[in-house]
Symmetry: C2
Subunit: 112 residues, 2 copies
Amino acid sequence: MDKQTQLSLAFAALADPTRRAILARLSKGEATVSELSKPFGLRQPTISKHLRVLEEAGFIRQGRDAQRRPRQLVVGGPLKGVDAWIRPFREQWEGRFDNLDSYLENMKRPPK
Amino acid sequence: MDKQTQLSLAFAALADPTRRAILARLSKGEATVSELSKPFGLRQPTISKHLRVLEEAGFIRQGRDAQRRPRQLVVGGPLKGVDAWIRPFREQWEGRFDNLDSYLENMKRPPK
């Protein structure tokens, strides 16, 4: 899968509040479908469907316990790609007051 | 619009490579539909449709020139929310080697 497709899949997976909340939960430690079902107040097939989307996008994977089949967060994973994509924009908004300063500085100069 | 809905709209808008490329282009300066149409090799109605999605998610707005109707990036905008959502995950993957260190440190201790 090329980088752009992977990034599109990642963003699409994150466009759902339940999936974002599942990722936040799994960042604290692995959990099974039934362990996720209760706190989220969702039926297990619904949770499984969300987990499938997250797994296809590379955010999560099966844990080691074959019996319980817990899911765990892939630390870093596609979020690193998302973060790298945002970085130049972040640099722009973090630098915007510097730019505003130099803009105002230019305004003060007499016109040529 | 509540924060979660706004975040979902933002992620959904970013799930398309053309829309991501348009945002990257607009981060360099405002552009009209026709100015975007050529380099992207897309028809103007297609560009307009993407711009509508980006505008609804709050990423872009109309520039000041009423005649040309350029679109400009909202510096910061919904990307700040996306960035804030990713932050705890970023801290986790950036800290993972520290955690590994302390894990290995614990391994060395004699069992109680």
